[in-house]
């Protein structure tokens, strides 16, 4: 097995990878930016090196410095996590040139699947269904009009290098095609430094369903039960579950086999995810893209199959053959994940960086917290606002829902606002319980105006706040007079005095 793994990431995924390494008995090297000296991954890994200033470009994307740390520390493998350098073929090649294993697929797979156009061609050649559309990029406005008429309305204009909803434009009227072309192109250029865009059919009641695959270096590839990722806000996944309420065993098998075909097209040899768009009306599924990394939402697949994907990914990177075959993978129960962000759901989801001054994480049966948080952490303004992923398992979907509600209720993060109460509203809603939703679900059901909804305990809130003020006023008065607070054991003054002596 590897002697030492450098984890080229931060936040909860760095912790996730570190945990897998600890369980495999492999020492870990953390890297961090100047803004992340206090981050949890710096504290828990065996070694830690600063790789540059706060901006990602100068630290977490700084290949020279990261490879230098790998050399200094004698790390023989690098785990890139997700985001940052995880889908960067150049980085993978530079690792290889330095004799270091990049824990991910072969570079051809990264390159082909990293581009929407080439990935579609590769998948189509293997017979994987695509959304009706074009397999080349648009040259100009006239070309766009021509293809728009060929495919038919409604349409989606997309950036070839895109992701995360950027460079996407929906078109419902022919006369909007030229404007959408110009706008998408400009956004694609600004976001990805690549102005290539293309057109495809817009799917009605679209659902985002994806298949986890895992391949080894010996030609074996298996698929796992699907993940339902339709609950999105601003095209970002918010809640994921496995399995999907839409998918039955036959469809699961068909999607799994299609995913394996797509993976085989690039000799896939790591953990990866094939994303499909599924029509909620017709249940047709179409290849969207393939992510050549460990996905944020991999834990729900782990919970319904018992397979530790993060560990297996490391083992296949080392060259181990898969320890199981397709027949060994069974779907058991139901899992849900809520992504908890440092955002204020009652204030248009504004980011809320700041210090976490209190933390109590949920526990008990079948609750899994994947977090980079701790009490005292200063959440920096420079990176993604995801704080943790709360994952539950239940023997049925209904039980997973009640368990998630219970766990959300236990989760106390003090000092900054988070999306925890928003999740509780979504997971607790009747519409979610029905399981009949599409990617527009959040926008259609949870308007910001809901922030004005009636609250059940305003009397208690006023009493609690007023008593706190009363106690402070009394404390201040006694402090001035040289007296003592009435309940010394709960006073922070006393406490700091006790600890510091």
């Amino acid at each position: 097995m590897f002697k030492k793994i450098l984890i080229a990431n931060r936040g909860e995924i760095a912790i996730r990878v570190h945990r897998a390494c600890v369980e495999l008995g492999i020492p870990t090297v953390a890297i961090y930016s100047e803004a992340d000296r206090t981050a949890l991954h710096v504290r828990v890994c065996d070694e830690a090196y600063c790789v540059g200033p706060a901006p990602s470009r100068e630290s977490y994307l700084n290949m020279d410095r990261i490879l230098e740390v790998a050399r200094i520390t004698g790390a023989d493998a690098v785990h890139p996590g997700y985001g940052f350098l995880s889908e960067n073929a150049e980085f993978a090649e530079r690792c290889a040139a330095q004799g270091i294993t990049f824990i991910g697929p072969n570079t051809k797979a990264i390159r082909v699947m990293g581009n929407k156009t080439t990935s579609r061609v590769a998948a189509a050649e293997m017979g994987v269904p695509l959304v009706p559309g074009m397999k080349e990029n648009l040259r100009d406005e006239a070309h766009a009009m021509e293809w728009a008429q060929k495919i038919g309305l409604p349409l989606m204009m997309k950036a070839a290098a895109g992701g995360g909803g950027k460079g996407m434009r929906m078109v419902t009227r022919m006369e909007d095609v030229p404007g959408a072309f110009r706008a998408a192109r400009a956004e694609a250029l600004a976001s990805f430094n690549d102005e290539a865009v293309y057109l495809e059919r817009y799917i009605e009641s679209p659902r985002h369903v994806e298949i986890q695959v895992l391949g080894d270096k010996h030609g074996n590839i298996v698929y796992f039960p699907e993940r339902e990722c339709s609950i999105q806000r601003r095209h970002q996944k918010v809640i994921e579950e496995a399995p999907s309420t839409l998918v039955d065993p036959e469809m699961r098998k068909a999607m799994g086999e299609a995913a394996i075909k797509a993976a085989r097209s690039v000799d896939y040899d790591s953990a990866g995810t094939v994303e499909f768009i599924v029509s909620g009306k017709t249940k047709e599924f179409f290849f969207l893209e393939m992510n050549t990394r460990l996905q944020v939402e991999h834990p729900i697949t782990e919970m319904v199959t018992g397979v530790d994907l993060c560990k297996e990914m490391i083992k296949v990177a080392y060259g181990d053959p898969l320890p199981f075959t397709q027949e060994d993978i069974h779907l058991d129960g139901h899992a849900i994940e809520c992504r908890i962000y440092a955002e204020d759901p009652d204030n248009n989801f504004l980011p809320t960086p700041g210090k976490i001054i209190g933390l109590r994480v949920p526990g008990g049966p079948w609750v899994r917290d994947e977090s980079g948080m701790y009490e005292g952490l200063d959440v920096p303004i420079h990176y993604d606002p995801m704080l943790s992923k709360l994952v539950v398992w239940g023997s049925t979907r209904e039980r997973a829902i009640t368990r998630m509600l219970r766990a959300l209720g236990e989760y106390a993060v003090k000092g900054i606002k988070t999306t925890i109460p928003f999740h509780a509203r979504v997971i607790g809603s009747e519409s979610f319980a029905e399981g009949d939703f599409d990617t527009h679900y959040i926008d259609n059901h949870f308007r910001p105006a809901d922030a004005a909804r009636p609250m059940p305990h305003e009397d208690i809130a006023q009493i609690a706040a007023a008593i706190q003020v009363y106690r402070q006023d009394k404390h201040k008065a006694q402090h001035m007079l040289g007296g003592h607070p009435d309940r010394p054991e709960t006073s922070p003054w006393k406490q700091s005095g006790r600890v510091q002596r």
């Binding site: 440092a342 204020d344 009652d346 204030n347 248009n348 504004l350 980011p351 809320t352 960086p353 700041g354 001054i357 209190g358 109590r360 303004i381 420079h382 990176y383 993604d384 606002p385 959300l408 209720g409 106390a412 003090k414 000092g415 606002k417 925890i420 109460p421 509780a424 609250m455 059940p456 305990h457 305003e458 009397d459 208690i460 809130a461 006023q462 009493i463 609690a464 706040a465 007023a466 008593i467 706190q468 003020v469 009363y470 006023d473 009394k474 009435d486 309940r487 709960t490 922070p492």
Partner: protein, 174 residues
């Protein structure tokens, strides 16, 4: 002691009396409550009221009389001011009614400042753009008025609560 607790613009009179250590007799408006009060973790309170158990988080906003209160996942913004002070501050506030004193709703970088003093702005017009955690966030005017001052500069890092700009309402709306 008597306080005014204000929630969603509605002020309520709160009288508090400590009957024994950790026990409070509270009159909220006209309604009496007997409260068994404990603060086992700083600003995480345990209240027992008539047998009902409430776990209450109280976050004091720095430099204000505002308290963010969390109960069973719901969030309440409560202003608590001593009754005498409240009367005073209400008089002061009356003089500046309608004036929009925009403060930064978060820590971040000022990406763009789109107005300057003297500009007339409409309701919903974007005044500036703040960036934090890779997200761009538009700061909009909630009134129709005139920009009288701009404190934020492009490229500047601001903390939550830092002043951004001031918009005075136009006469016909005052």
């Amino acid at each position: 002691m008597t306080y005014i607790a204000t929630y969603r613009g509605r002020p309520t009179r709160v009288q508090i009396q400590e009957t024994e250590p950790g026990r409070f007799r509270v009159l909220l408006g006209e309604t009496p409550y007997d409260v068994d009060f404990l603060e086992p973790q700083r600003n995480i309170l345990s209240l027992l009221i008539d047998g009902q158990s409430f776990e209450v988080d109280v976050d004091p906003a720095p430099g204000a009389d505002l308290y963010g209160v969390m109960i069973k996942g719901d969030h309440y913004e409560i202003e608590v001011v001593e009754e005498r002070k409240k009367k005073l501050s209400m008089k002061l506030a009356a003089g500046a009614a309608g004036r929009q004193d925009l403060k930064s709703p978060m820590a971040g970088n000022v990406r763009a400042v789109l107005v300057q003093p003297g500009d007339e702005v409409k309701v919903g017009q974007v005044l500036m753009i703040l960036e934090a955690m890779k997200m761009q966030n538009e700061i909009k005017s909630t009134i129709h008025g005139t920009v009288t001052s701009v404190s934020a500069r492009e490229g500047q890092t601001v903390a939550m609560g830092d002043p951004l700009c001031v918009v005075e309402p136009l006469a016909e709306e005052g």
